[in-house]
């Protein structure tokens, strides 16, 4: 039975429910205004695919995607200026990203801080971020690398989303997080229904059990409490931990690419016959020349200094300038590192007196 519109006035109290089939109808409809991306199963991992492009095994719940959310707002290589024109060269439809997990939403707080300032805001970031839609989802599974709770993040979204989905049997309990999210629901009331007690109970049970599971991971890895992180990074500035842990690093930069808060880039100019183009390309602070100046001086010419710098940036710099730790506990860097460097182990070592 379609939803009675009057229920919407109480949407924070009376929660909504959408059946799995109806969700895909909703996404079909949203495809008119948005480029819709949905996580799909790819072997053992989950990666975003464009909705409706091919037959995919869509995964709304479960755990975080292989790629970080930043890849939609701040492309790996993106044209940011053409010739001497002030026009923003990007003019595609905004993204609607489905199944976004809480760790990635925390990452957006850092990226918003970096890219959305008033004077020098990044036009393409601001455009995709403010124009886009986020339909997030609770985690329903935990992988070994998950440690979000250690960074003060819950495995379910509580901010930064337009609509949130909590997967239960046959569908999803729906929460509305913004006016934009409400408008989407207003425009598609026929696809929603009121949620019942059992569905809400099942959502709460899942949240508790996933959180418990991650907390157990965190305990096993002895990750220091979040409020100690800045202190231990500062205190151990000259510690041997950095060189010991950096020893396995091959400077591939995978940890930077995969990180939802790493934002560094370089600008690259290109000339074709008809025009000039300036590109913004992801960069990696682990690579030797990252901070080198043209005259040859390099403040971080040793690998362990660059390794330390990465931790400083996440656990000291951002807490000071933005009041946010720039680690979300997504664990992607652990999974991506060919040297098997584990950020949890580094933090544990920093917290262990020598």
């Amino acid at each position: 039975m379609p939803l009675d519109k009057s229920v919407l006035n109480f949407y924070f109290i009376a929660m909504l429910f959408i059946k799995r089939g109806n969700l895909f109808q909703l996404l079909e409809s949203l495809s008119g205004d948005y480029r819709v991306f949905v996580p799909s199963r790819k072997g053992d991992s989950i990666a975003f695919t464009t909705f409706g492009e091919s037959e995919e095994d869509y995964v709304i719940g479960e755990f975080r995607s292989f790629e970080p959310l930043k890849a939609f707002y701040f492309l790996g290589r993106e044209k940011v200026a053409v010739d001497f024109s002030p026009e923003n060269p990007r003019n595609d439809k905004p993204p609607c990203i489905v199944g976004v997990k809480s760790c990635d939403l925390k990452g957006l707080k850092i990226l918003d801080f970096v890219f959305m300032d008033e004077e020098f805001g990044d036009p393409t970031y601001i455009k995709t971020r403010t124009g886009g839609l986020i339909i997030s989802a609770d985690c329903t599974k935990v992988v070994e690398t998950c440690f979000c709770t250690a960074m003060g993040v819950n495995p379910w979204p509580d901010t930064e989303y337009d609509i949130n989905l909590s997967e239960t049997d046959e569908g999803f309990v729906v929460e509305i997080g913004s006016d934009k999210g409400q408008k989407v629901i207003d425009d598609h009331t026929e696809l929603f229904q009121e949620s019942n007690k059992d569905q809400i109970h099942s959502k709460e049970l899942n949240r508790e059990s996933v959180k418990r599971h991650i907390e157990k991971n965190v305990q096993k890895k002895n990750i220091p409490p979040v409020e100690r992180l800045k202190r231990i990074v500062r205190k151990n500035y000259e510690s041997d931990v950095w060189s010991e842990e950096a020893a396995a690093c091959v400077e591939c930069g995978a940890c930077n690419v995969i990180c939802p808060t790493c934002h560094c880039f370089f600008l690259y100019d290109q000339r074709s016959e008809s025009s000039l183009a300036r590109y913004r390309v992801w960069d990696s602070c682990m690579i030797k020349d990252f901070a080198r100046v043209a005259g040859g001086e390099n403040p971080r010419n040793r690998l362990w200094m660059r390794f330390r710098n990465r931790f400083e940036k996440k656990f000291d710099y951002f807490p000071v300038v933005a009041d946010e730790i720039a680690c979300t506990g997504c664990g992607r860097c652990i999974a991506a590192c060919p040297g098997k460097i584990d950020i949890r182990q580094v933090l544990e070592k920093l917290n262990t007196p020598r």
């Binding site: 970096v114 990044d122 600008l267 100019d269 043209a294 000291d316």
Partner: protein, 271 residues
């Protein structure tokens, strides 16, 4: 919306060869572009790349801008190949520059070295414009040898002025040189100033800034009164690309001019 990545088109009007490796480019931006002393510009050769430089001309001249550039790498090699009439890109002004009002009623001690004399020239024009508001103006400059002394004629002209106490030195002299020979730190003693209140401005190669800073401290100048023009790898110039971080600061947005007390505790500041 403003696009901070785009450059403004500018024409190269004139190129002056200062030394075998240093040229000054007189540029005419096609849109209004003003700057304050200490601020920097990203200068690009269309399609070939950008690099950050501090202008060397008088900031009160609005229609044109001079930038003095030493050839040290890929982008500056391309810049040195430019000819009058060529088109280039300018992005800026970026950074904070000097708070000129802090010099009012003060004794100002300017120390420049090598190609650092270029941005210092912009500052000096402003200091001369406000000279009647300064208690004292002292300038000590140095470079490796007389051949590498940029703006030599102009600097020698300033030395004749009676509103400035100015001495230049070279590490190694030749027959054209009548001045002192030695590092710039060797001509910083014995100046009649109240060092504990002096505002000192330092611009030059990192190694020179390091030893000048230590010398200033030895003379009794306060860390918070030592203004350093830091050189870091600045790519975007507006606090996003992450390359130029010094502790909690970005060199581009929080600097490039820092007082020594702001940055003294962070490693690698002189590298």
């Amino acid at each position: 919306m403003n696009n901070p990545y785009r450059s403004i088109e500018a024409e190269v009007l004139k190129i002056t060869t200062e030394t075998p490796s240093i040229k000054t480019f007189l540029l005419k931006p096609k849109e209004e572009l003003t700057f304050k002393p200490g601020q920097f510009m990203e200068f690009s050769v269309p399609g070939l790349g950008e690099a950050p430089f501090t202008p060397s001309s008088d900031s009160e001249i609005k229609e044109t801008m001079e930038i003095t550039i030493v050839k040290v790498g890929k982008v500056t090699d391309e810049i040195h190949k430019l000819k009058p009439g060529d088109t280039v890109g300018l992005r800026g002004p970026l950074g904070k520059g000097y708070h000129m009002t802090r010099f009012i009623g003060q004794e100002v001690f300017v120390i420049g070295g090598g190609v650092g004399l270029a941005p210092i020239r912009t500052l000096m024009y402003d200091l001369f414009h406000m000279r009647d508001k300064l208690v004292k103006l002292v300038y000590r400059g140095g470079c490796r040898n007389p051949e590498e002394l940029i703006f030599r004629k102009e600097l020698e002209g300033w030395m004749k002025r009676d509103d400035i106490d100015m001495i230049l030195t070279v590490d190694e002299g030749d027959d054209t040189w009548n001045g002192p020979v030695g590092l710039v730190t060797s001509i910083m003693d014995g100046i009649d100033m109240n060092y504990s209140r002096v505002k000192a401005v330092v611009c030059g190669p990192p190694i020179m800034m390091k030893f000048v800073t230590f010398k200033l401290k030895e003379l009794g100048v306060k860390d918070r009164n030592i203004y350093l023009s830091m050189e870091k790898n600045m790519s975007c110039g507006f606090g996003k690309c992450g390359h130029c971080r010094i502790g909690p600061y970005y060199c581009c947005t929080d600097g490039p001019v820092f007082t020594y007390d702001m940055i003294r505790d962070f490693p690698g500041i002189w590298d």
